[in-house]
Symmetry: C2
Subunit: 343 residues, 2 copies
DNA sequence: CGCTACCATGTTAGCGCTAACATAGTTTTA
DNA sequence: TAAAACTATGTTAGCGCTAACATGGTAGCG
């Protein structure tokens, strides 16, 4: 009976109408309203129309918290990235968001600031929200995090890099990307190439690229000097990176930057200093951001399919959620050397 | 009695331990565990230690969905922005996130893509999550959205612009910013100034700046021509904006762009075309993004305190949530004319 | 010493919804 | 035409947690 008396204890009574009130007003049971909203094909058309009209009339807004508790699942997807300052992650998020929202999922966004402990905390919290899936950037997690996740039974997608993933994996081979750019620089006859990165302990994908780069240089019998900046990718950092290279390796003929922000910052600073690129020094980046294609000379870089990576990751997760279809676990999205005029 | 028999009906049994299981293991009642976790000062120190040790031992992760339902509030803050492609919103979000996360709130991020109908849908969904507060970019909402929000009793913060807000308001005066830049351009003796914006019906704050700009030019007895691009702020759009100005207003001596992305795109294109800035044409932007300060010549623009805006907005919301202290409803964060070398 | 005040913990009753099972009516099938 | 199958809707019992009230113990106080 819908009108059973409340106990004498008051509970916070929000003014919002509840499912039961809609049901009473429409002359049906609560479950019918629930079905009209969540599985319309399971109620008779006439009933459905009547119910939805009542929903509209009362301004009913479903309490998703209650629904999630009852069904033990929410339409949340946890998405964890190491930074929002980097356009790369923004684009990946955009791809994810677009795809997930179309299917009625809401992204719960977490930012670790490249801190693996924070990632653990965030994941703990997000699991408490009964997320339907988790998308996280990268394969490296704390021990505690790993054990938490191996006991979790929902889809886990690790994006950005390829490797030994917990579950699903969409990304590219950063070692190989580093090698690719180093080979290009050697082919252009540069022989004194400095790698410049920022916070490589935290941005370990940049370190992987450096390792690929170093392999190629060593194989060619060359040194592979490296400078590590203590400020994460930004134009400013790139500018100071250029200056550090100039003072520490005056004979350098090329700089391989860990990303486009750094490379562009350096390129713009070089111009301000009146230097010629690539005459005085060559500059290469990584990511293929639009910015690098607008400066003159156009930046040589490696384009990663960022939005696509997000979209593909989301699609794979959705496939799993939908039908538990077995999907390919690992997808290499590849990359592309973009030869500009800066090398 | 904790061990009361389940009905014969099976429910999905997640493997996760529940509060009750922790309570049993620790030899206390469920509410004591709840308090040990959420209001530690309300339980005896010895009990607290015992309970927390049990929590740790069992790997208990609180079910936040259940907690929210029971308490009719979640530690979610709904944040709604029109775009993620624009660095401005990213920085505002960053400021919000930093401040809210420190107090244990989680941001629920929604992206309207400058669509006021989508904003309504997002807000509806978010209210269903019992958010503790709503932060939204801008003062313009659909009629339905307004009426939904006026009946909502939690803090509402509208950021970016100042005006007739629903509740709290942190932002700056875009009309005045437009006027400010126009005055600067006139003071520099430019007399044929074109305003270039993108999608001004959706990015109505850019239109407000244009209106301020136009007022000043008209007051000086000048025309105020305007070009509207159909691609939202990007370097590409800026480059094509420059070309459209050159072909349509060959005698223009200055361009006032709606934002820094457009302005920088134009500046870089002008350089590629071999033009001199500001000799051949002056260029001004809006936002004060780092990019504009790295190009040569440095971009003349207006700096808005973006992260600060986010931080301040979050702090004001928190004040309200904390103690229901009466707070100033409107905060003008101001802006600053940044005179570079491009005008 | 009896009273109030307060502290620590417990009991009870939902929060608003949906899964699982139940039921009545209708159509299909052999 | 009776059994089987399906359709539309309803009943019941929680999901896991916390608010509100309850209780028993200890301290404070004139």
């Amino acid at each position: 009976m819908s009108d059973k008396r409340r106990s004498t204890r008051r509970r916070r009574g929000s003014e919002q109408p509840t499912l039961q009130q809609v049901a009473d007003a429409a002359g049906v049971s609560a479950i019918t309203v629930s079905r009209a909203l969540n599985a319309p094909e399971r109620v008779n058309a006439a009933t459905r129309v009547k119910v939805l009209a009542t929903v509209e009339r009362l301004g009913y807004v479903p309490n998703l918290v209650a629904g999630s508790l009852a069904s033990a699942r929410s339409r949340f997807i946890a998405v964890i990235v190491p930074s929002l300052a980097n356009a790369v992650f923004i684009e990946v998020i955009h791809g994810l968001q677009e795809t997930f929202e179309r299917e009625g999922y809401q992204i719960l966004l977490g930012n670790t600031d490249y801190d693996i402990e924070r990632e653990y905390q965030l994941i703990r919290t997000f699991l408490g929200w009964s997320c339907s899936a988790l998308v996280t950037a990268g394969l490296r997690h704390s021990e505690a995090c790993r054990s938490l996740l191996t006991h979790w039974d929902k889809p886990i997608m690790e994006v950005m890099e390829l490797g030994d993933a917990l579950d699903l994996n969409v990304g590219l081979d950063h070692h190989e990307a580093g090698r690719c750019m180093a080979r290009h620089l050697l082919a252009q006859q540069y022989r004194s190439v400095v790698y410049v990165g920022a916070c490589l302990d935290r941005d370990y994908r940049a370190r992987m690229r450096f390792e690929g780069h170093r392999e190629v240089l060593h194989a060619a019998g060359l040194e592979a000097p490296m400078i590590e900046l203590d400020q994460l990718g930004s134009l400013d950092a790139g500018a100071s990176g250029l200056e550090r290279v100039l003072s520490r390796y005056p004979s350098a003929d090329a700089i391989h930057f860990a990303n486009d922000d750094l490379a562009t910052g350096a390129l713009l600073r070089a111009q301000r200093l009146g230097m010629t690129i690539p005459g005085d020094i060559a500059i290469a980046g990584f990511n293929g951001l639009p910015l690098g294609q607008h400066v003159t000379p156009r930046l040589t870089t490696i384009r990663s399919p960022r939005e696509n990576m997000g979209r593909l990751a989301a699609e794979e997760v959705l496939k799993r959620l939908d039908a538990k279809r077995v999907t390919r676990r690992r997808h290499d999205v590849g990359f592309e050397l973009l030869v500009g005029d800066s090398t």
